[in-house]
C-alpha cells in the first residue's frame, strides 16, 4: 500500500504545533463564515485567501481547506436552530432538522448533522486517498489533446446536465472563457481585448471576480430578505452525543447511500446542493414510513448532511488529480494553488508529494478536530447571530476589498470587484448560474493552451481529438453530454412510439 505509507508521511508533515494551530484557526473562521448570513464556503475561502499569501503552500492549503470544512459544519447550525440554511446545500437539512429543534431535540439533530457530515467527508477522503494517485498516474500519459478533451468534457457536462436554462449556462461559460482570455496571450505574447487599457493588461484575475461575484453580490441579496430570526441555541451534552452514536448503526443504509450519491455528484459537476436533495429524497422514498419525514425524523438529517459533505469533499478529487475543480470552492482552492506557484494536475503528485499528502492528511485530521470543535461550541457560534447585520455587512465589504486588493496590489481590482458584485447580483436574480462562469474563468487559459498546442501538433487538423482510443472516447462523451437533453428526449420519444405499437 504505497498510498498508506505516503499518507502516514502526510500526517508527519502536519503534526507540528504551528499547523495544528492554523487548522484550529481555519476551522473557527470557517464555522463563523458558515453561520453568518451573506457569507459562505466559497466567499470565506476567497476572502481569507490573501492571509495565506505569505505562508508556505502546505500551511496555506491546510488553513484554507479547514475554512471549507468549518463552513460545511457551520451551515448545519443555522438550518437546524433557526430554519435558516446558511448555504444552499443545507436547505434539505432544515426539512427535518428544524422540526426536531422545535420539539426540543435540537441537540440530537445537531449531533446527527455533525456526525453524518463527518462520515460523509470521511468516505470521500478515503476515496481521494486511494483513487486520486491512480487517476493522476493515469493522467500522466495525457498530452494536450487529451487535456483539452477533459476540459471539454467538464464544460459540456455543465451545459448538458445542469438544471438551469441551457442558453444561460452557455452564456455564463463563454463569458468566463472570454474574460479569461483578456490580457497578454500566453502563446504569442500579443495583447487581446485590452482596448488600450494598461489596467486590463494584467488580465482579469479569477479571485477578484470570485470575491465580487460571491462576496459582494451575496450581501446585496441578503439585504433584500427579512433578517429577523428566532430560535434556541442548544448546548450538546455528552449523553446526547453517545445516545445518537449508539443508534448510528441502525441507519447504515441511509449513510452509505448518501455517501455514494455525494461522492458521485461531487466528482461530476453536480455539486453538493443536488447531492443533499437527492440524498434526502432517496432516504424518504426507501423509508417504510414516508409520512414521518418532514416532521422531525433523524434520518432526514443524516441523509442530506452526509451527501452534502461527501460531495463537497470529493469535489477536491478531480482538482488534485487532473487540475479540474468539481465545485466553486474547489475552483477557488485551485486559484490559490496557482498563486502559490503550484501547478495543479497530475504532476502535483510527483513534484509536490509533501503538499498533496499533507493536504489529504489534513482532510482526515481537520474533520476529526472539526467534529469535536462544533460539538463543544455550538451555543457560542449560534449567538454570533445576535450581532446585527448592519455591523457584519460593512466588515464583509472591507474584507472583500482587502482580499481583492492583496492579490495583485491594484486599486483597479477593487473597482473590478464592485463591478462583478453587481453582475453577480443581477445574474443570480435572472437565473444565470455562476458556477460555470467561475470554472471557465479558472480553466480558460489552460483549456485554450491545450487546444492550441494540440492544433499546432496536428497542423490544424481537428481529427487529432479522435486520433486514439482514449482521446476519442473522452471527446465523444463530451459531445454526447452536451446534447444529452436532446438525446434523452429522442429516446423518450422513440420509447413512446414503440410502446403503443407493442400494446
Amino acid at each position: 500500500m504505497e498510498a498508506f505509507g505516503l499518507l502516514l508521511h502526510g500526517f508527519a508533515v502536519l503534526l507540528t504545533w504551528k499547523t495544528l494551530l492554523l487548522m484550529m484557526v481555519g476551522l473557527v473562521l470557517g464555522i463563523f463564515v458558515g453561520v453568518l448570513p451573506g457569507l459562505g464556503g466559497p466567499n470565506g475561502v476567497a476572502i481569507l485567501l490573501p492571509l495565506t499569501f505569505t505562508m508556505d503552500p502546505t500551511s496555506a492549503i491546510v488553513m484554507l481547506s479547514c475554512i471549507y470544512w468549518g463552513a460545511l459544519f457551520g451551515g448545519a447550525i443555522t438550518s437546524i436552530l433557526f430554519n435558516i440554511p446558511g448555504e444552499a446545500w443545507s436547505v434539505a437539512t432544515t426539512f427535518d432538522g428544524y422540526p426536531m429543534a422545535q420539539q426540543g431535540r435540537a441537540a440530537e439533530a445537531l449531533t446527527a448533522a455533525f456526525t453524518s457530515s463527518f462520515i460523509g467527508s470521511l468516505v470521500a477522503v478515503l476515496l481521494i486517498t486511494f483513487l486520486a494517485p491512480m487517476i493522476s498516474s493515469f493522467a500522466l500519459r495525457f498530452g494536450p489533446p487529451e487535456f483539452f478533451a477533459v476540459y471539454l468534457l467538464t464544460f459540456c457536462s455543465f451545459v448538458g446536465l445542469g438544471r438551469e436554462a441551457k442558453h444561460k449556462t452557455v452564456i455564463s461559460m463563454s463569458l468566463g472563457l472570454l474574460l479569461a482570455g483578456v490580457g497578454m496571450d500566453t502563446v504569442s505574447g500579443q495583447l487581446r481585448m485590452t482596448f488600450g487599457s494598461a489596467e486590463l493588461l494584467r488580465g482579469i484575475n479569477f479571485l477578484v471576480a470570485v470575491i465580487g461575484l460571491f462576496g459582494i453580490s451575496e450581501i446585496l441579496l441578503t439585504m433584500e430578505e427579512r433578517l429577523a430570526l428566532r430560535g434556541h441555541a442548544a448546548g450538546i451534552s455528552l449523553r446526547v452525543v453517545l445516545s445518537v452514536w449508539k443508534d448510528l448503526p441502525k441507519y447504515w443504509v441511509t449513510l452509505l447511500r448518501s455517501s455514494v450519491i455525494g461522492c458521485w455528484l461531487g466528482i461530476t459537476p453536480g455539486g453538493a446542493i443536488a447531492a443533499s436533495f437527492m440524498g434526502y429524497n432517496l432516504a424518504k422514498r426507501f423509508s417504510k414510513d414516508q409520512e414521518s419525514f418532514g416532521k422531525g425524523r433523524i434520518e432526514g438529517v443524516f441523509a442530506p448532511e452526509t451527501a452534502a459533505h461527501a460531495s463537497g469533499t470529493s469535489a477536491l478529487l478531480p482538482m488534485l488529480a487532473l487540475g479540474i475543480p468539481g465545485s466553486g470552492t474547489a475552483a477557488i482552492l485551485l486559484g490559490g494553488l496557482m498563486v502559490w506557484g503550484l501547478n495543479p494536475g497530475p504532476l502535483l503528485f510527483i513534484e509536490h508529494k509533501d503538499f498533496v499528502w499533507g493536504l489529504i492528511a489534513s482532510m482526515y485530521l481537520g474533520n476529526v478536530v472539526g467534529l469535536v470543535l462544533v460539538l463543544t461550541t455550538v451555543p457560542i457560534f449560534a449567538s454570533i447571530l445576535r450581532v446585527p447585520f448592519a455591523a457584519v455587512a460593512p466588515m464583509i465589504v472591507v474584507s472583500c476589498a482587502i482580499g481583492a486588493y492583496a492579490i495583485q496590489n491594484a486599486m483597479f481590482d477593487i473597482w473590478l470587484m464592485l463591478g462583478f458584485g453587481v453582475v453577480g447580483y443581477v445574474f443570480k436574480k435572472i437565473g444565470i448560474p455562476l458556477a460555470p462562469f467561475t470554472l471557465a474563468l479558472v480553466l480558460g487559459s489552460r483549456a485554450e493552451d491545450a487546444f492550441r498546442l494540440s492544433m499546432i501538433g496536428s497542423g490544424g487538423d481537428m481529427k487529432v481529438f479522435w486520433s486514439n482510443g482514449l482521446v476519442g472516447t473522452i471527446t465523444t462523451l463530451a459531445i454526447v453530454l452536451l446534447f444529452w437533453p436532446v438525446i434523452d428526449r429522442a429516446f423518450a420519444g422513440v420509447a413512446r412510439l414503440v410502446r403503443p405499437a407493442k400494446a
Partner: protein
C-alpha cells in the same frame, strides 16, 4: 436540556414590506442583460477579428479561440433575447420591489463610496468610515458602539495584514502622517 438553552431573537425593524410595488420585472431585466451581453459579444468579437482570428502557418492566431467564443456568447444572448420576448409567464415576475431596492442601495451606495474613499484616503481610513457610518446611519446602532466597533475592526485588520502578514494595503495621508 432546557437549562443550557438560551433564546436568540433578532428583529429586523427595517425589513422590506411585503406589498411593496415592483421597480422592474424579471422579463425586462432579462432583455436588458441579453442586449448588453450581445453588445459585449460584438465588441469582443470585432476586437479579436482585428487581432487575427484565422489560421497561419503555426496554428490558430491569438484571436481565434476568443473570436469563436464571442460568436457563441452572441448566439446564446440572441437566443436568450428571443426566449425573454416569447415567455409571457416569467416576464410578469418581480425582479425587485421598491422596498427591497431601497435596502440594496443602502448597501451598494456606501460600498461604492468606500471604494472611492479607499482610492484617495487609503483602505484603513475608508474602512473605519464605512463601518462606523453604516452601523450608525443604516443600522441605527448607538454612536459609541459604532465608533468603537469600527476602530477595533480596522485596527485588527491593520495589525493582521500590514504588520503580521506583510500584506500591504493602499494607504492615504493619515498613515503617511504616522510614517507608514
Amino acid at each position: 436540556m432546557s437549562n443550557t438553552e438560551l433564546e436568540i431573537v433578532v428583529d429586523d425593524p427595517t425589513a422590506p414590506e411585503e406589498n411593496s410595488p415592483a421597480v422592474v420585472s424579471t422579463g425586462t431585466v432579462d432583455i436588458i442583460v441579453s442586449l448588453l451581453l450581445l453588445a459585449l459579444a460584438l465588441v469582443l468579437g470585432w476586437d479579436n477579428w482585428r487581432t487575427g482570428a484565422s489560421w497561419d502557418s503555426t496554428g490558430p492566431q491569438p484571436g481565434y479561440f476568443p473570436f469563436y467564443l464571442s460568436v457563441i456568447l452572441g448566439a446564446a444572448s440572441l437566443y436568450g433575447l428571443g426566449a425573454a420576448f416569447m415567455s409571457r409567464r416569467e416576464a410578469g415576475e418581480t425582479f425587485v420591489t421598491r422596498a427591497q431596492f431601497r435596502r440594496v442601495l443602502a448597501v451598494f451606495v456606501p460600498t461604492f463610496l468606500f471604494c472611492l474613499a479607499t482610492q484617495y484616503l487609503g483602505l484603513y481610513v475608508a474602512s473605519f468610515l464605512l463601518i462606523a457610518g453604516f452601523m450608525r446611519l443604516v443600522g441605527k446602532i448607538a454612536l459609541w458602539k459604532s465608533l468603537l466597533t469600527a476602530f477595533v475592526f480596522t485596527a485588527a485588520m491593520f495589525v493582521t495584514f500590514d504588520i503580521a502578514f506583510d500584506v500591504i494595503m493602499p494607504k492615504g495621508p493619515l498613515e503617511a502622517a504616522f510614517g507608514y
